[in-house]
């Protein structure tokens, strides 16, 4: 069992993706199947960009064992009032700045869902959001 944690700065697009980049390096070193690596890091990266785009600060916690990779992103931020709506493709509350970065088209959460084996999102308005992404190593 391995555990890693990386902080995520809200609003800092220069650093967005650095945590997912670390995760990719770790998974490569562990010789994880490249197809699984891609699914995991794409989901992690979209979730990391969400924290940068919407929250004040957050943390990404990664737990890896022989059967699965579990990623938890916990942020302090405005929260999501209607998770069902946020999951709809095309729905977005992203700022123009986020759109300039090539995101904010309402595809982040659907992308995370399609690249994870299990996804759970809990959120409290005014407090923050927790996203838990699980991928299994043997399909």
């Amino acid at each position: 069992m391995m555990h890693f944690e990386f902080p995520i700065e809200g609003g800092n697009f220069l650093k967005a993706g650095s945590a997912s980049s670390q995760l990719k390096k770790i998974l490569k070193q562990l010789n994880v199947d490249p197809r699984i690596i891609k699914r995991v890091v794409v989901a992690a990266y979209e979730a990391e960009v969400n924290v940068v785009a919407h929250a004040y600060r957050g943390i990404i916690m990664i737990d890896i064992d022989t059967s699965r990779i579990c990623i938890q992103l916990v942020d302090e931020g405005p929260g999501i009032p209607d998770i069902g709506r946020a999951m709809q493709m095309g729905f977005s509350t992203a700022s123009p700045e986020v759109r300039e970065m090539g995101f904010g088209a309402g595809m982040g959460l659907p992308n995370i869902k399609s690249n994870s084996d299990e996804l759970s999102i809990t959120s409290e308005v005014g407090k923050g959001t927790t996203v838990k992404i699980t991928n299994y190593l043997e399909q």
Partner: protein, 114 residues
């Protein structure tokens, strides 16, 4: 097709990753929306984009894309070049529009992803 042929066809400039000029490319995807790039499953893909910022490089890193062409005279910054070099990504700058670049590469035989 070799990436060096792509560079010649587009009258383009390589700004990072010259060592990858001999590598082969089969598919091309043209997009300014990184979330769309992140949905792709193809290997050996060339990304044609007018979005020149750090997230373009990060998105390519996560998607296992190691060939990027910036169209519409967009320029790679030093920080982008540094991140691309770290991830062994070739960066190419092209003065043509997205439509013109895509048309030339399609005619030359690069395949669409879908």
């Amino acid at each position: 097709m070799k990436i060096k042929e792509v560079v010649e066809l587009l009258n383009a400039r390589v700004v990072s990753g010259q060592n990858l000029l001999e590598s082969e490319v089969e598919y091309c995807f043209a997009s300014d929306l990184m979330s769309d790039v992140l949905t792709l499953e193809s290997d050996n893909l060339l990304l044609l984009t007018g979005l020149a910022n750090l997230q373009t490089i990060r998105t390519s890193e996560m998607s296992d894309i190691n060939k990027i062409i910036f169209v519409r005279r967009k320029k790679a910054t030093d920080e982008m070049i540094r991140l691309a070099a770290e991830n062994e990504i070739i960066l190419i700058e092209c003065d043509y529009s997205m439509f013109r670049s895509a048309g030339i590469l399609y005619n030359a035989g690069l395949k669409p992803v879908y």
